[in-house]
Symmetry: C2
Subunit: 430 residues, 2 copies
Amino acid sequence: MAWFGRKKQDDDVVEEEIIEEPRLPEPPAADAQGLRSVADHTAYLLELVEPLKPFGMSLLEAWDQVMCEDIDSMINVPPASTAKVAGYAVRASDLLDDEGHLAPPLAIVDADVDHLPADAAVVVGAGDVLPRGANAVLPSSFAAVEENHVRLIEKVSAGEYLRAAGEHLRQGTRLLSEGDVLGERAIGLLASAGVDKVLVRPRPRVVVVSSGEHLVEPGAEIRHGDVADTNSFMIAAAARAIGATVFRVAVHSNDPDAIREAITDQLIRADLVISTTGGRREDYETVASVMRDLGLVDSVDVLMTPGRTQTFGLIGDERVPMLMLPGNPVSAYVSFHAFARPLIRRLMGARTEHRAVRAIASGTLRSLRGQMHLLRGRVWSEGSVRHVEQVSAPHALTELARSNALIVLDDGIETVRPGEAVKVWLIEEE
Amino acid sequence: MAWFGRKKQDDDVVEEEIIEEPRLPEPPAADAQGLRSVADHTAYLLELVEPLKPFGMSLLEAWDQVMCEDIDSMINVPPASTAKVAGYAVRASDLLDDEGHLAPPLAIVDADVDHLPADAAVVVGAGDVLPRGANAVLPSSFAAVEENHVRLIEKVSAGEYLRAAGEHLRQGTRLLSEGDVLGERAIGLLASAGVDKVLVRPRPRVVVVSSGEHLVEPGAEIRHGDVADTNSFMIAAAARAIGATVFRVAVHSNDPDAIREAITDQLIRADLVISTTGGRREDYETVASVMRDLGLVDSVDVLMTPGRTQTFGLIGDERVPMLMLPGNPVSAYVSFHAFARPLIRRLMGARTEHRAVRAIASGTLRSLRGQMHLLRGRVWSEGSVRHVEQVSAPHALTELARSNALIVLDDGIETVRPGEAVKVWLIEEE
């Protein structure tokens, strides 16, 4: 991409206007050590990514996706007013004369009348739909039939002895709002209200690109210095778990051309590219240099442990968002939850906040002040109270596999004592 | 299906053997009113259904499915022992002579030696893989090189200055067990341990067959007495949410031949058939009679509110399980959670228990003694404590849509007072 200056003529002054290379918007200010807070970094990334364009889908196709319109009921439930008892559909105001006495007999008209005429009645059975204009049912015992007329014995008031149209759900009632997720019960609600199509944002397409020359596919022979590619599998599954459509591509080299080609080949079907590596310094640097070739990049150290090193870019002509995760598996996983999850949910148009709850710490938890420290934890319930314990194991992936939550020690926290409540992000159903 | 008696010859006695029609196994005993407990009914249904046959899948394909083998690590992590410092890979027992003094100099041999010979050493840098046979690293400063030999200055013991193979994860360590769900972190763990394929049970294929002559598709005109088909959409989405592959088929008639044909057409791709109807008595009776035509059927009233009427069968030549849900949307939904969910999880080979937790009731909850009463509820957390409130609304689907839990009042419970803990089944992520 070449960027040219061009001449601009302003009166007699000819000045050269420097057109700067495009850049990302100004990132948030860092602290004295050049570090950025997690909150600032998250907000910055979310600002750089737009929700996907919505489209109309049938109800079942749209399952688990995020509404991007408000939906009102198309119909009344029940759809029409019906008689609760056998008798006569009437207009209550016809039942009394001007002096408040029972009115003279009402003419019985056909049940298939379009609209109830004045001073008339329609014979109805329990459950029958009332003609328009009728607003009450006169039970059979409240009247007597005489020569095709109904002689009144007792009056009823408007609304009596009927089940009104819209009594359960009135046409126009707000059912779901933009941003709501279309779960099974919401689908039932919409179907019951006569809605068959909704405007939702599609599932984001996430391409996980794995690179690093010492990575081998799981199952392949592991030679000296090699390591089985782990992060790309774990991250691909994690992206799928939060609702993305995921493609995994493995380069397993540090050849910049091969990595560049793998990424650019995928851009056509990527709403987000996530890079995972084998964790060596050169893996990370190669991907970072490819990202800089392909677009606008922000590399920063954030005040988070693990997962300090964060690189994000908008790459290719379409400025597709790309996130490079750290190479260490725990750092990669924690960074995924801290940053990739909100980005994917932003693409979906869903709430980007974490599933944060509080739980009682079962042991002492320690952090470094001034960092957001994310420990691996296991949450369980005793009675109505949530508890959490820190999980640790010599093998990083064993540690993760035994966890169902990340314990979030915010930057002001140094120590949490047993019995104190602590914030956790739930990363698995309990 | 015709069942013939056949002649059986036994010595001189010719006796007619009566071959009985096949039947379902004896159902559990009912109470004095002929009602079956929810626990008994659930256990009975689960006994009639087998987990699906497993097959091998690649890791990402198998995401969110249930393992049906134990998996041990294929490799050591790290895969080989490596030096922590620069120095000499040695066998610790070579460093001392019989009297416990430092041994004579060790011969330096090539780094690519297959197995470390006796009284030899290999020059290693930090991070280098040790040759087989070496069990310690002698740091450079503990020795001096003399004429292609290493003269010992200080000894080391076995295991010193090295990172041992399998230190993080030893080959053969149990990673996952049968019945575990293959989530993202479990996938990471398996990949890290060199596992690329696993034996899982496939997603059950659930066919939802909707019937009832007064049902119309959502979006279609609703004439007098018609109602938009709701249950089949809600139940199809609910089955999908718990991991099934779902097909929805709508008959929208009460013609037994049409319903029979719709069901038998689907049996080839069904691991479970679920019937939903429009809620009229005749809808239910038509499906029940079709089920009896097609196979072996158990119809029973269970001690549950809502969802008292339950019909289950094994139908067609392959004895495919089929569950008929009640027609009322709330009864259908509650019955789905009570009975269809465990059945689907049984097919998956997953744990069939509900996601039961306890929550503090915010208001008074009332039940009928002797019934399992399932109320619609909304669970939320304050600090580390879960709370729940009953949800009610005039429109059944609005009520469901606002709920995220079912409050389970077991048969011994009549009243739960505000502040008391009550059991809930979580039906949505918090």
